[in-house]
Symmetry: C2
Subunit: 462 residues, 2 copies
Amino acid sequence: MSTIKEYIENNKDRFINELVELLKIPSISADSAYKNDMTTMANAIKSSLEKAGCDKVEICETEGYPIVYGEKIIDPKLPTVLVYGHYDVQPPDPLDLWDSAPFEPIIKKTEKHPDGAIFARGACDDKGQLYMHVKALEFMTSNNQLSCNVKFMIEGEEEVGSANLATFVQNNREKLANDVILISDTGMIANDVPSITTGLRGLSYVEVELTGPNRDLHSGLYGGAVANPINILTKMIASLHDDNNHITIPGFYDKVEELSARERAQMAKAPFSLDAYKEALDIDAVYGEKDYSTNERNSIRPTLDVNGIWGGYIGEGAKTVIASKAYAKISMRLVPNQDWEEITQLFKSHFENIAPAGTRVKVTPHHGGQGYVTPIDSVGYKAAAKAYEQTFGKEPIPQRSGGSIPIVSLFEENLKSKTILMGFGLDSDAIHSPNEHFGVWNYLKGIETIPYFYQYFTEMSN
Amino acid sequence: MSTIKEYIENNKDRFINELVELLKIPSISADSAYKNDMTTMANAIKSSLEKAGCDKVEICETEGYPIVYGEKIIDPKLPTVLVYGHYDVQPPDPLDLWDSAPFEPIIKKTEKHPDGAIFARGACDDKGQLYMHVKALEFMTSNNQLSCNVKFMIEGEEEVGSANLATFVQNNREKLANDVILISDTGMIANDVPSITTGLRGLSYVEVELTGPNRDLHSGLYGGAVANPINILTKMIASLHDDNNHITIPGFYDKVEELSARERAQMAKAPFSLDAYKEALDIDAVYGEKDYSTNERNSIRPTLDVNGIWGGYIGEGAKTVIASKAYAKISMRLVPNQDWEEITQLFKSHFENIAPAGTRVKVTPHHGGQGYVTPIDSVGYKAAAKAYEQTFGKEPIPQRSGGSIPIVSLFEENLKSKTILMGFGLDSDAIHSPNEHFGVWNYLKGIETIPYFYQYFTEMSN
């Protein structure tokens, strides 16, 4: 019976090759053109769970893409860990900014990843981080070191709002019953600064359509005389922030939790270099809400960002046209206590409200989710912290993340258990961006750390 | 020897069929994918001029698309008319808004065109209006009624700014020498309200690129902490108009000609129904510069319109991304005395000026041209007015148009002659829009009116 370190040493090439194969499947949930690849991906996850030792694996159909469920119950009296992950990925565009094809994984060394990183869409978010759990399970089952029960729930709609997950969870409370939920879909501060995410932002994602005249018009004959939907849309969107970059939607901040000076001082202790941050993004200045630091702006404060905008002629050359319609995709990151459905409503009424005469506006909610904060005194958090200490040699820092995993609050509500966010990626891994990658060291470190979490969680649960 | 009325009666089906054939050629100058169609189109124009009786026709190469030149000199002592037109068309998109394919012409009756209208991209702008002159020449030559010399200059880059026309005109002043320039590339008020365009707006067309971070970012991890190029671009564009819809670019209005109360009262006499205007566009209100009427806003006042905007994720579904770049195509319609190159510079410096720290802006001028006003006491205008009276039975109304034909001022500067804008299209013909069309009645009326212009112009020139 080998230790996890030995096991990784003997199998790491296979671990990497297996992940590379999964990364070749373009499982893009946002684009229906990839429907078949989504099915291929779900089947690949299913068989990987079977090989890893699950004794019951099934593909559970939903109204959207299926959820892959697997379990290994060694003793009903022992605690149960539920692992959540997602097999879908973000669209790769803009393709021209990738140095290598997004679905032809290659391994390259980088400054932050001297042992090499796997470059591919989904390498970190979330195929790589999800597969760490599969390989950790493989080690535990094949070396008789699984100390408790484990369940896997791997969905295919996380990148498009997990539309069908809630129903699945509500209808399968028994099947999904657990003592702690384990998710690796976040990051850590640095390879030598392990951290555990304790807070997540909520999300409200909407699409807006502004209509002016009933057809595209010649900008010479009509220019200046009718409302130009693009000009108006820019005015409306611009008005959503004031000069201090506060969001102007009435009621938007009503439920925002204000952190105490002490809590903010705590946060400020996390290692952060503004110069390195600006250099990494090649910007000469940061930008954001007045009176808050960069780390606060992207963690404890709500935001409103346009994720996409389009209208009129966007082809080569010039066209002197006034478009009939202009569109934007807008998302708001929310903090704990802000209800995403309420915020979506506030946005909708406000945006409809500010559309001037001569235009018509349509606001279509895409999806959303609640923010979440996890206590650092729970058994799950303490077991995770001890596991990191074991493998990283130092205690992890609790960290608020700006990202959203809407389903975390859904889980707590329906399954009554806490979620531990064990992320092994780095912010610089470019998830959702061209050239997404995941460090080989991080991948293997995750596989090494996870079995200790099972061990300590079982021990501490007694 | 038949009259023009008889000649049209006997040949109108052929006139229509010949135009339909020309409209099948997708001569889109803005998109290099249609290079071959541009060549096909130039050759078609060449042979049509030869068939119409020009005794010298040539395709003149430029650094862009060629200019088709043709002439019929019957007596050097007689006056010479130079006809200008363009064989290129606007891109047809958005394609899904066309009721029939843009390059598969069909004839349909409409409310404004009870005798039917030809639906196709370029039907009115400018293939249909250009071909009226070719058919009028055919009548005059085949019936020995050409009373003066005629020259044709048909270019292929009008819709993309006539980049190479200036050089051609400057290098061919002798060849192009004329007494009056005739252009049908504008409209008239209504079929029972003939009008001649006496004023045109200038144009400055620019493209802007705003760059924030050096790569697309995850909107959760970075949202609120860095300048989002799309949000910033909307702010910058929105700030280009104040609450009264005045343009805020410093110096923009310095040279704008303010019309006298008397001139504005004259303009106000042109028949116009605001209700009909709003109904035709399906808008509940017009929109524009404070203290000016709709007709003034789109004719004697300068404007700034976004013709296209794009950035971030614009595909199906949702992507939580902060784009690295955002773009817009912006055009300004200028009035006489505003210099387009000066305005382009003013825009460029102002726009670069308002880009906040954390972003970089690039402004690329596309093309432009000066505005123009033509006197109504010139021989050319009087001959045209008399020709309209002959065929429409009433005197035409002099009208300022909001559109731009930048080359008109170029002609006056280099060829020292006035331009007469005999437009036979209607504003409702949807030029530059889906379902562009040209009334069969208007097409034939143009062919009928043009020969009288030649006759009266020759008589009045003595």
